[in-house]
């Protein structure tokens, strides 16, 4: 069965004060639908990825909420939550529902509104992705990834400047992305000068608080899938302990590594086959761990490979985070996993505009992580060649 993306779109990402969650969802869905060329009556189900609708907006029953808003009622609608991997998990379940033969064409919406709440409430709400013990310790998400950064730097003998290169590359990529939250470039010196959030991570090591929506329409209908589509050849999910300190390693996310391994196996592909990837760089260290977990770099070599330009547009072979990643494009947590699929779609289709970072690319990969690695999704995409 070929399940393909037939339409994909995101809203602008940023501090969107005048946009409500409903408006963001409508915009993303309508754009994706228009691109797909089908009418909304063909959409048989809606899968929504969202983390903070309840914690920040007091809104649950989110599947139904958006089915109504997008004019899709009475079709089935579901909300999936897996912290920052909500989008990837929503996509995974949408794919499964088509594989199960329940539906043929499904919409997947990733949506998050974070700026209606105060900063400290958002920081506390995000810690819902961690464990009770972690919350009781007063640690924050920057803190958890800071612990990983410390372990990674001491194990593989890297410095804070090596981590800063991730922000430099992703801001460079993001400067080409019209929809990115931040379009300015940064230098290593800029990152090193920025204020410390949780040692050793500084402000410019951390992805921002963002509002945004993203939508993909996927289908298995051979009449709808045409040359202008990208098929999803693997969709895998992995889990691990909720708390960082209970893990077997602090420098690798086994949830992502295992999901990646299964995804490559299912698709019959290897890491070296991937032309373009969107990985979960919630913090600079996260991208270094991601490229190693996904096999783009050998263990401990992620930082040195990145510094050599192996993942940078114009220089590298596997371009990582052409959208600017979570760091520069922004991270509306529940939407990110779906936005990654949108980006890979555009890169493989050659419709990414100024941010086009690959030519004639065939294989793309999206890596979406929840919490400090408690859950991760890996999707592999292939340009259809009918």
């Amino acid at each position: 069965m070929n399940i393909s993306i037939i339409g994909a779109a995101t809203t602008k990402f940023g501090e969107l004060w005048t946009s409500s969650p409903r408006e963001l969802a409508k915009e993303a869905f309508n754009s994706a639908l228009a691109q797909s060329g089908i009418s909304s009556s063909k959409v048989e189900a809606l899968y929504v990825g969202n983390m903070l609708g309840g914690l920040l907006g007091h809104q649950e029953n989110i599947g139904s909420f958006y089915a109504e808003e997008l004019g899709l009622s009475p079709v089935p609608a579901f909300r999936l939550e897996a912290a920052c991997a909500s989008g990837g998990v929503a996509l995974h379940n949408a794919i499964n529902s088509i594989k199960a033969g329940l539906y043929t064409t499904v919409a997947v919406l990733g949506i998050e509104k974070m700026t209606d709440a105060g900063g400290d409430l958002v920081a506390s709400a995000l810690m819902a992705a961690g464990s009770d013990e972690e919350r009781g310790s007063g640690i924050t998400f920057p803190g958890l990834y800071a612990l990983m950064a410390q372990a990674y730097m001491s194990e593989y003998k890297y410095k804070e400047e090596d981590l800063a290169e991730v922000a430099v590359k992703n801001h460079f990529h993001g400067s080409y992305n019209q929809k990115a939250q931040f379009k300015f470039k940064v230098t290593v010196a800029d990152v090193m000068k920025s204020s410390r959030i949780a040692d050793p991570l500084k402000l410019l090591d951390c992805s921002p608080v963002t509002d945004g929506g993203a939508c993909v329409i996927i289908s298995s209908d051979p009449k709808i899938i045409s040359k202008n589509s990208v098929s999803i050849v693997a969709s895998e999910v992995g889990t691990d302990t909720l708390a960082l300190h209970k893990r077997a390693s602090f420098t690798s996310l086994n949830a992502a590594k295992d999901a990646g391994r299964r995804a490559y196996a299912r698709a019959g592909l290897r890491p070296v086959d991937v032309d373009v990837a969107e990985v979960h760089d919630c913090f600079s260290i996260a991208e270094l761990i991601a490229v190693e977990d996904l096999g783009f770099s050998e263990t401990g070599k992620g930082a040195s490979d990145l510094k050599k330009g192996k993942f940078t547009r114009g220089k590298g072979k596997t371009i990582v985070n052409p959208s600017g990643g979570l760091k520069a494009c922004g991270h509306p947590v529940g939407a990110t996993g779906v936005k990654q699929a949108v980006e890979i779609f555009e890169q493989l289709m050659g419709t990414a505009g100024e941010k086009q970072s690959v030519t004639d690319a065939k294989i793309g990969l999206a890596h979406n992580v929840g919490g400090s690695g408690a859950i991760a999704t890996v999707h592999i995409f292939k340009k259809n060649n009918f």
Binding site: D120, G136, S137, L147, Q150, H245, K246
Partner: protein
């Protein structure tokens, strides 16, 4: 952090298992932008500690100086207030780690 008297009551029963147990600091960070309710304690280090029993824990470091923040530093688990800012509700006590 949503802590109700009932949740604190259940958790409180386990404190006796950790108070006074010694361990080793593995990794730490200094939290400078604290979450809600921890503002009056910031900045503070939070570390991953391996207890002598083999159990792994995460917790705030207290009564610390810069020179204490070294991988392998010996610590002991102590009972402290988790947060202080809420003046009306039941006081949340928990485990923190003190350099030996």
């Amino acid at each position: 952090m949503i802590t109700t008297p009932v949740k604190l009551w259940r958790r409180g029963k386990k404190l006796v298992n950790h108070i006074g147990v010694k361990g080793e600091l593995l990794y730490w960070t200094i939290v400078r932008v604290p979450p809600k309710n921890f503002a009056d304690q910031a900045p503070y280090p939070v570390g991953i500690v391996r207890l002598g029993t083999g159990e792994m824990m995460v917790g705030q470091l207290v009564d610390w100086t810069e020179k204490d923040l070294k991988s392998g530093m010996r610590v002991v688990a102590v009972m402290r207030r988790i947060t202080h800012e809420d003046k009306e509700n039941i006081i949340p006590y928990g485990i923190k780690f003190k350099p030996l």
